[in-house]
Symmetry: C2
Subunit: 283 residues, 2 copies
């Protein structure tokens, strides 16, 4: 009954623009971004907060449906909005969302976009960062967003960069996709090709901690793709596999050819690119 | 009985050198560094681990007895050691300590020092860093070691730096000392003067988060001193007090004259200076 009423209310609405909420979150206590019955999810928390403020059902799109345990610094969630909603002070929407979301979600900014905008389909690129700490020293400050390779004294950054080079460009990344997801895509006649613009490895110091960071950017990603790439490059970095192996893995188009999936907690969705001018800063 | 036996064993030992353990920790779940009956403390965890490995009672000194909730990136804990203990492979001591300490303690390095070395009395300087995030955006990655000033859109860094200048040098810092501690010191005929070599404020980006960082270094610190300095400078940074006020606070020698004590979770003991050549890297 409630749903029918809500449906009826929605049908009457005219959406003149879209709103995009830019948010960060710590992934540890979420069963991922996407809503799942009975689970604590980022989408579930965001929808509940938006529906409470706007007093209507909200259908949202997001830039990247991150897995359980994966963090985001700048995720985007969009939904169509009415003229009345857009006339509300942005500061009021912002402070309501901050108040209505839990401590592990951070509302970072509000944007306006043309009607029909989708945080998912309009995204041109997603940028991910993966943090690794090597050696016997347990990370102190970045403990909750770092993969600690305790028994690996060091990773060969040059070797990993050389190994990563063949991954840049448009390729079939089936070797780096969770096998069950790849099967579903293929059964649906959908592509497992993606276009990566960057796969690079660097050393940095963050909050006093020496880290090896993997930056991976591309137009879109398959399920577990960044984590499979990191797990594979680490095999090269620790000297278990030669540099040329990663190109062979890519060519195999078989998940079994690649290295293990790196743990979720080291991965952060860092930012998302949209065509210039599509998003107008609102607050 | 157990204590007497342990005492007897200790008396027979000849200490030829000292060992200094360099460690980090996250302060959230400790009742501070110093041991307290029935409380989870850093010193308690370290002593238990060291006594388990070395099979004897250990009396330790530390560089800075951090309060409940305060973190450390490089704290030093020292104790006198026997020739037999120093002949053990450093790698074995290190891996035992890593295994015997909880997840929120990080064993970073082992050093050897001359007999009589004290991590407390031989320290020439302690360096602290305090992190603040301003504005409505909840910090994502650094949430557990940052003070979030949600209702303060910005802090005036130039004003805080100017206000901090009179604090550098040798002064009576009684205005920045927990009142009850200052009373005890004075009753004991001990000084509340300390010598600060640096009090500076800067803006940085860490793990994608814009932060205001307060760096405070000095020969030694009174109870709550860094947090009282930060709380006082923030009053200037948000425009509640003029730049010249901090010099007046210092001159007042009265805790009531200063600003509030900033929360513990933003504070990190970053590093400690010892005279050159006193510590020999062991692992």
């Amino acid at each position: 009954m409630a749903e029918e009423t809500a449906g009826a209310l929605t049908e009457e609405l005219t959406f003149t623009e879209a709103i995009a909420v830019e948010l960060g979150y710590r992934g540890a206590h979420f069963a991922g971004y996407a809503e799942q019955p009975g689970q604590r999810t980022v989408a579930g928390e965001m929808r509940r907060a938006l529906e409470t403020v706007l007093r209507r059902p909200i259908e949202m799109d997001c830039a990247g449906r991150t897995d359980a345990g994966v963090h985001a610094l700048a995720q985007y969630v969009s939904f169509p909005a009415t003229a009345a909603e857009l006339s509300m002070p942005a500061r009021r929407l912002m402070s309501s969302l901050v108040a209505l979301t839990p401590d592990d979600i951070s509302i970072r900014a509000l944007h306006r976009a043309p009607a029909g905008f989708s945080a998912r389909f309009d995204a041109e690129a997603r940028h991910y960062r993966y943090r690794v700490a090597c050696g016997p020293t347990r990370p102190v400050m970045g403990w909750d967003h770092t993969w600690w390779l305790r028994t690996v004294p060091e990773l060969d950054v040059d070797a990993m960069n050389a190994a990563a080079r063949p991954l840049v460009g448009e390729h079939d990344f089936r070797s780096f996709c969770k096998a069950s997801s790849a099967e579903l895509l293929i059964a649906d006649g959908r592509s497992t090709s993606r276009n990566l613009s960057d796969v690079s490895v660097d050393v940095t110091v963050e909050a006093g901690e020496r880290l090896i960071v993997f930056d991976v950017a591309g137009n879109a990603f398959l399920h577990n793709m960044v984590r499979a790439i990191v797990g594979t490059l680490v095999e090269v970095g620790r000297g278990h596999r030669p540099v040329g192996w990663v190109a062979d893995v890519l060519a195999a188009r078989d998940r079994c050819a690649a290295g293990p999936t790196a743990p979720a907690q080291g991965l952060v969705l860092e930012c998302v690119d949209y065509p210039s001018g599509v998003l107008t800063p609102w607050l």
